[in-house]
């Protein structure tokens, strides 16, 4: 085995990739922190209110949806549990939020990292958001049919 070749390729290759990703991740995090501080998130959530209607979920659900979409699933789920306690989100709200967010979360970071690797971001981002909308809409119809809201929420959320 060409050990020197292996070390060279691994070291330079991995550092190069990290550098490509750092160029994207650091500015992105700065922009996202600014979004948080300028209360733009509330405005974006308001913009999403018609979307909530489309899915048949309460308008309080849009804030956790936007948070998860931008900042990721772990953060989003935390905000979902918090909003569920504060605003009495229904079981349907929870299901739609989670179904949407497992298919589509931290969209900017994920998409840009793949773009740094060479993927087509103009395809990736709309596809991911579009499909999340389609399956959430389908789920919303199914959940209405089986009348999910008659079920109780898990105890730790009540």
């Amino acid at each position: 085995m060409d050990f020197v070749g292996f070390l060279k390729e691994s070291t330079f290759g991995s550092l190069n990739s990290i550098f490509d990703m750092a160029k994207i991740v650091i500015p992105l995090m700065i922009v996202m922190e600014m979004l948080k501080d300028l209360n733009i998130l509330d405005k974006i959530s308001d913009f999403f209110k018609p979307v909530a209607k489309f899915f048949g979920i309460s308008s309080e659900s849009t804030f956790p949806l936007v948070i998860g979409l931008i900042f990721g699933l772990a953060y989003g789920a935390g905000v979902i549990i918090e909003s569920a306690k504060e605003n009495n989100l229904s079981k349907k709200d929870l299901y739609i939020l989670i179904i949407f967010l497992v298919a589509c979360h931290s969209v900017f970071e994920d998409t840009l990292l793949f773009v740094a690797m060479g993927a087509n971001g103009f395809l990736l981002l709309p596809l991911r958001i579009g499909i999340a909308i389609v399956i959430s809409f389908m789920a919303s119809k199914i959940l209405d049919k089986i009348n999910i809201n008659k079920n109780k929420l898990p105890e730790h959320i009540l």
Binding site: M1, D2, G5, F6, E9, S10, G13, S14, L15, S17, I18, M21, A22, V25, I26, P27, L28, M29, I30, V31, M32, E33, M34, K36, D37, L38, L73, A74, A77, I80, I81, A84, L94, Y95, L97, I98, I99, L101, V102, A103, E109, D110, T111, L113, F114, M117, G118, A119, N120, L123, L124, L127, R128, I131, I135, L153, P154, I157
Partner: protein, 138 residues
């Protein structure tokens, strides 16, 4: 206030880069090591028949396995170290966007009381369906 968010963003960006480094570098070394031994072609030959369905070479299975078992960063590390075409990278990106870090993220989703089997079923089927679809389209 601007300064504060700038500082916090910078801090978070550097921390995320460090998280990336901790995972991408070992994965890159691991996959490159396989490349320098016959092991990568064994893996490649073994997975080639299944991976052909989504238009990917057998060795791209490493990115899918690492991405789903560990996290997206590990999948990205594998992508970076393999020699893939733009089409192949885009297909992998689509598949991994829908389905990644299954252990960790399913645990997170479970906390909200949503059915875990349903979540896994949705994510894995989306990855496979769109992998097949975009192999045909692209």
């Amino acid at each position: 206030m601007y300064k504060e968010s700038l500082f916090r963003g910078l801090n978070k960006g550097i921390r995320t880069t460090w998280e990336l480094t901790k995972i991408v570098v070992p994965v890159y070394f691991f996959v490159t090591f396989l490349k320098y031994t016959p092991a990568l072609s064994w893996v490649s030959n073994f997975f080639a028949p299944v991976m052909k369905i989504v238009g990917l070479p057998g060795e791209a299975s490493l990115a899918l396995v690492l991405g789903n078992m560990i996290n997206l960063y590990a999948g990205i590390g594998a992508i970076a170290s393999l020699n893939l075409t733009i089409k192949q990278i885009t297909i992998l990106a689509i598949m991994l966007s829908f389905s990644h870090s299954l252990f960790l993220e399913t645990a997170v989703a479970k906390k909200t009381g949503v059915n875990v089997t349903l979540i896994l079923l949705i994510r894995i089927s989306l990855a496979i369906i769109f992998g097949i679809l975009f192999n045909i389209i692209l």
